[in-house]
Subunit: 427 residues, 2 copies
């Protein structure tokens, strides 16, 4: 374990407020654009963005084997391909460079000017080129809630659900970072009681509170991985808002699954928080009963205690937090998901992204979608400005946050915040 | 229309046998590797592979605006991004260069040595980097057959099918060109009459006879395209064997669609045949009743008369053709599929691939999968060597071919041929 970077006593010479998601123990990875239109791989401490390309050029990574342009790229894919050993060396080195005891960069104003940016002066980009995006469906509470509403209340959970980390393929081309607004989709829907569909703007645009993990190169085609190895291939996690149009979904999804109801947009938080940073928050997930088949069996703690929340902010108004959930409620673990994914020999590459599925907890205020929070629109949610929501309105901003906290340190994801615009108008 | 390249009277100074899929009127695009380990974009006439990178370097594309390294790449994505006008200029120029009347290259032995390869001396690669792969489900006969077997014989076709070109997302990372063998996948299945699944090699590996089209950059996120414009964004077509494991599919696919049953491999023919080359074979598809919603309505001929066949070749034995089908049986057109795909603002990029769905015709010998040909294994198929097949055996090679033919010219795809190997054994 990378004791160095995670050392709880370490402090940075960069200012970090006590409630920051990004103390020196976090050291997430992302890609940002500077005001000079330079794109670089970076990390973040407090409210400062750190240009890893510049750090490398100025020799701060001396002794770590890295290709010359490893960080002067517009994606993290190559760095992630280098594997866990390199990630740890780089993360530990960054922790050393920014340690309050280390004067090398701290006292070098010229280098600092080149390397360090205020967060407000950079624009976060998509951190990876996502070759393939898979979305799982691993919250038992969510699968049960959806089953009750869309299918049979008596047999809400389908027979395969307790045996398979059910998942499906999503669309990579419409994954966008926090801050990019999303248009309300148009689509086919079947009005209640009718037999002929209509085409128009979706009337039930929803969020789905998820996390996602980013993989390194896992296997060659045909090869599977063992569940005990799976975690080594996971680089880190982000928050994911898997936008969904419920009315389109209801009409299109049988028999081949959700398609246009989902692929108009998926928004992610821009900083990938490494599994090493999340290590202190490892915990047990729910008991798996019946015992999974041997290829999915694992012992020990394979979930993570990550507090999650969702807020809706109407235009020109304050935000209302409408859900509190936690990643630890997920039934299937990330290592089980990844193991299952490769069990048939499916190739998984560096930069591939796998969503958790909607993270709903056991209580009504911990559900991870409007569909569940309002129970299909039956129980609207009241916002602080007095207005009600069954689903998301035009010009609402949906804000998801996530962080881990123990007595010593807070490791967070920042946020994924995206505004829902009215349908696109062609010029 | 590009009369020049399609001119039926044109002959090449390169030898082309009368039954070749690749006369000078075809001019498909692909990527190949030479014995000197050079990867280049190329085309094919008869049994000759033509290095377009070399052609460009030797100035044969003078007067056409192309970036310097347009063809010295390992994918066609950049060329496809350049759009229809450029595709046509390049295709027409190639037709001119290889016209039997044109002595420029014909009589230049030095240049010919650099530019022209025998097909047997090159290795075909995947022609595009496929960002996103979508598979449709657009044969009414196939959807009906599957519905009868997997769901309700009385209501085989689901209510949405006649209104929506139903589709779902596939996996890009396991799309391979013809010639690459595929391993029988392992996976979870539920034995008949049991309630607990088992894990092991799939016992019903099947092919699906499909075609696929490759797009150029279609839209920005949020934007849709009009059905009348859609064809302009389609670069060309390939043959697609969408390998499927029926027992895995049956257990996993409700409610989110096929996943591991499909994503272990999809094989494509390596030459992309342009829509311009297919233009003479335009025909009407089946009547669409009920009339689709306005955004999907189109007039005129939007299908193509493409003869398709599937053969199984056991190890060390001759091949048996087991199905004859035709692309013209497809209910939904490619332009309707692409229009539907962008109707919610989903972004489609250069190099994206969209599969037709299994192409089953109206008669039992025109079905596009073993599932249908043997009716779920009930009616095994007899091969020429006397053996029977319910599904595909280890070491069988599945060969799909496709071509168009009229009184004047034959335009073909070559083949997609792939051997099914036993399950992968980890070293």
């Amino acid at each position: 374990m990378p004791i160095t970077a995670n050392d709880i006593k370490r402090k940075s010479w960069l200012e970090v407020s006590s409630d920051s998601d990004f103390p020196i123990q976090n050291i997430p990875f992302g890609v940002f654009l500077t005001k000079e239109n330079i794109v670089t791989v970076g990390t973040r401490i407090g409210d400062f963005a750190i240009d890893l390309g510049a750090l490398q050029q100025l020799n701060y990574f001396e002794g770590i084997e890295l290709t010359d342009d490893m960080f002067m790229q517009d994606t993290l894919n190559d760095f992630i391909s280098d594997g866990q050993k390199t990630w740890r060396l780089v993360r530990n080195r960054i922790a050393e460079i920014f340690d309050e005891q280390n004067s090398k960069l701290r006292d070098n104003t010229k280098d600092k000017d080149i390397i360090i940016f205020k967060m407000e002066d950079v624009e976060m980009q998509l951190p990876v080129l996502i070759g393939d995006y898979t979305d799982f469906y691993s919250s038992k509470e969510h699968a049960t809630n959806v089953g009750k509403m869309f299918r049979d209340p008596e047999n809400a959970l389908l027979p395969n659900w307790l045996h398979i980390p059910v998942g499906y393929h999503g669309r990579s081309s419409t994954i966008v970072p926090s801050g990019i607004p999303v248009h309300r989709p148009m689509g086919q829907t079947l009005p209640n009681g009718e037999t002929t569909p209509v085409f128009g703007p979706s009337r039930s645009v929803d969020f789905e509170l998820e996390t996602a993990f980013i993989t390194t190169d896992v296997n060659i085609m045909g090869e599977n991985i063992h569940v005990t190895e799976a975690e080594d291939y996971i680089f880190g996690m982000v928050l994911l808002n898997d936008w969904s149009a419920r009315d389109i979904q209801k009409w299109e999804y049988v028999p081949l699954g959700p398609f246009l109801a989902k692929n108009f947009a998926s928004s992610i938080s821009p900083w990938i928080v490494t599994m090493d940073a999340l290590e202190p928050f490892r915990t047990k997930g729910p008991k798996q009963e019946p015992t999974p088949l041997p290829y999915l069996q694992q012992k020990g703690k394979h979930s993570f205690d990550i507090n999650l929340e969702v807020a809706i902010q109407p235009e020109n108004s304050e935000a209302t937090v409408i859900s509190h959930s936690n990643f630890k409620y997920m039934y299937w673990t990330m290592s089980q998901q990844l193991t299952h994914h490769t069990s048939n020999g499916c190739r998984v590459n560096s930069g591939d992204m796998m969503g958790s599925g909607t993270i709903s907890g056991p209580t009504e205020d911990s559900f991870g979608s409007m569909l569940e929070l309002t129970w299909g629109g039956k129980n609207p949610i009241k916002l602080k400005d007095g207005t009600e929501r069954k689903f998301i309105n035009d010009n609402d901003t949906v804000i998801m946050k996530g962080h881990c906290q123990n007595g010593h340190v807070r490791i967070g994801f920042g946020e994924v915040s995206s505004k829902l615009l009215p349908p696109f108008v062609r010029k």
